[in-house]
Symmetry: C2
Subunit: 389 residues, 2 copies
């Protein structure tokens, strides 16, 4: 193909001040389509978790104008997605009583906002709020499938107790589980087993409730690793995943994706050299990348990130090995020579953990690698992130 | 003293939705006064680094209306402080050529914005910018005193070369060094030696330039640990430090401050219990605390933070041991019993690294522990943070 230089007025990745976050929309779309096809094949609805990108524009890539069901990690996301026309939202963090007025305000706006809980005490205050407001507050009971975080066991006595309290107030929607330990499942087989366990646990919990005469509508499972490994989701009604839109080095390290699938990166500028130490210094430190070092727990530690040129081609053997607030240090490894990257060179850093790196930025500059535009890709759009709680 | 309940309309830390960041202005002022007294005694000007709080309100605590000299880590901070009336600003990250238009725009506004560099190449483009714009761009040469990050050695040939290029363009202001390795100096003696080395290196670099006939105005040193350890700063003109305003568990672990000096915390709410694992779950995860685990490298690993009640009293033996995006896990250690903290209980978490935790928030709710107002301290003010680059 013939490359033409960008027209006057067109911005490229060489233009904005560094550091800044970039989304490659081509890779994001490819990742989205991959999981959408899987969900279709498995016969379950997909409810993307929007906590990674926190962007209405990224979420819009997932559907064709009919706002899809989404999962959120904060009420600020729920409110922003409601403002954007989304009406089917699950807030997948255990509910606190003081948050109920924000929940019921969204329900009054016609948004089906589902809340999550794993105790009788929470069920009581959710049911109370429903009675006080006259609004059915759809609630899901969190089920623990792998000892990762919150949740009740699938046959815990409190499951039926909480379910009955919710049901009596017209609030019981279903059960939800998250195979958080699958982020440490390093083989396809381990991830398949994690997906089977996630499904089995959720279906068993739904069975416990149904056996007690309590109707269960939603049986929700998901994590990015298990969503890409599940082979049979019989009994499950919906699949959640979030990180998969961008993917990251942790997911690549597990084998859930390849390095070439990573849709989020951070553009930095070389600001110095310390040849005596083998260091190249950049203006992108942990403020731009986050302090997340997720790959430190993997067989291949990728430091604070891998390095690509501005077009996205990986520079082999180069790693961002250290970070202070606004400084990054790049070093060679695996016997590679330190490349000649003069002061002023712009690079992209692929992050350990997309959720954490994205959170360091107020928005994204968007490029589309399906239409290569030369060494400095053209910025096609600027997308904002939702911040705060 | 007699406590009266807050008047109607008065907000307390029990009111805002969690998680949120809190600054105790009493502790911040105490920390500020402590270092101000030291700088006075040492006979040097203090140039606080505002990268920790990134707040005009916090900076205002440091002076009495006459805007003090400040250090910044981004041009966004420089621009915001210029908007706030500050006219003496050092941008202490190696300058990139593409940032020069923002630098010269600030100089044109009458702000003395000093830039930092450690190469002949940077000196050339700074001198070029000065000639092209007719503006003297005050520049400091970064000196490496401990192999921490950037900088030239105090007798590097490039020091005089860069100095001469700057001087010939009317830009040479001085030298700057930062004892970054002092964050790993665990005894008062090590920190005193680090401070002496920082001073000696900076003064030697100034001497190298002066011996070459190049005038040096500013000899700038500083880091929070060395600023609190220096006993003699002969030859130094100014002292920089930033973290000291809030302090954090890393600084307390080194012994630079006590736990009671920590002025920044994050308020979270208990949202669940897993008694079988000994876990209390909160709604404050790494999004609220950051992924910084600075104390992991110290003798006493404080997890993601220590836990206090809403008034600020440390709950002994309790630590935030794990974090996901919006979940925190509290566990007991040192043989302590897990306290009874019902769902809905609000707690404060003291962070590893104030710079990183503060960066996760858009602003601070401010309390004043000099005027105790009961178990839920009154919110005296809301202060905004500067974001982006």
């Amino acid at each position: 193909m013939t490359l033409t230089p960008p027209a006057a007025g067109v911005r490229t990745l060489a233009d904005p001040d560094t550091p800044f976050a970039v989304v490659d929309v081509h890779k994001a779309l490819r990742n989205i389509e991959r999981l959408a096809r899987r969900a279709d094949r498995l016969g379950v609805a997909l409810r993307p978790h929007v906590k990674t990108a926190k962007s209405l524009d990224v979420a819009a890539l997932m559907h064709d104008g009919t706002h899809c069901p989404v999962t959120v990690s904060t009420l600020a996301e729920a409110e922003a997605f409601a403002d954007g026309g989304y009406t089917d939202i699950t807030y997948a963090v255990g509910i606190a009583r003081h948050k109920m007025p924000r929940v019921t305000a969204l329900l009054r706006r016609g948004v089906t906002l589902r809340v999550l809980l794993d105790s009788v005490e929470q069920a009581v205050f959710v049911a109370d709020a429903a009675r006080e407001t006259g609004l059915a507050v759809p609630a899901q009971i969190e089920i623990d499938c792998d000892g990762h975080r919150g949740g009740l066991g699938p046959d815990a006595p409190d499951l039926v107790r909480a379910g009955r309290i919710l049901h009596d107030a017209g609030c019981l929607d279903g059960v939800l589980t998250h195979a958080g330990e699958s982020y440490f499942a390093h083989s396809p087989k381990e991830r398949r087993l994690a997906a089977e366990n996630e499904r089995d646990t959720a279906v068993a919990a739904a069975g416990t409730l149904r056996a007690a005469g309590l109707p269960v509508r939603t049986v929700s499972v998901g994590s990015t690793p298990t969503a890409h490994a599940a082979e049979d989701l019989t009994g499950v009604t919906e699949l959640r995943a979030g990180n998969y839109v961008f993917f990251d080095l942790v997911m690549a390290g597990l084998g859930v994706c390849g390095i070439d699938d990573l849709a989020l990166s951070v553009v930095v500028t070389v600001i110095g050299h310390r040849p005596e130490y083998g260091w190249i210094l950049t203006d992108g430190g942990w403020m731009a990348m986050s302090r997340d070092r997720g790959t430190a727990a993997q067989p291949r530690d990728q430091g604070y990130g891998l390095v690509t040129d501005l077009e996205g081609n990986v520079l082999p053997g180069l790693v961002m090995s250290a970070a202070s607030q606004e400084h990054g240090t790049l070093t060679a490894r695996d016997g590679a020579d330190l490349p000649d990257l003069p002061i002023g060179t712009r690079l992209r850093i692929l992050p350990n953990h997309a959720c954490a790196t994205a959170a360091q930025h107020r928005g994204y500059h968007v490029v589309d690698s399906a239409w290569p535009t030369g060494p400095a890709p053209v910025v096609q759009a600027d997308w904002k992130r939702i911040t705060g709680w």
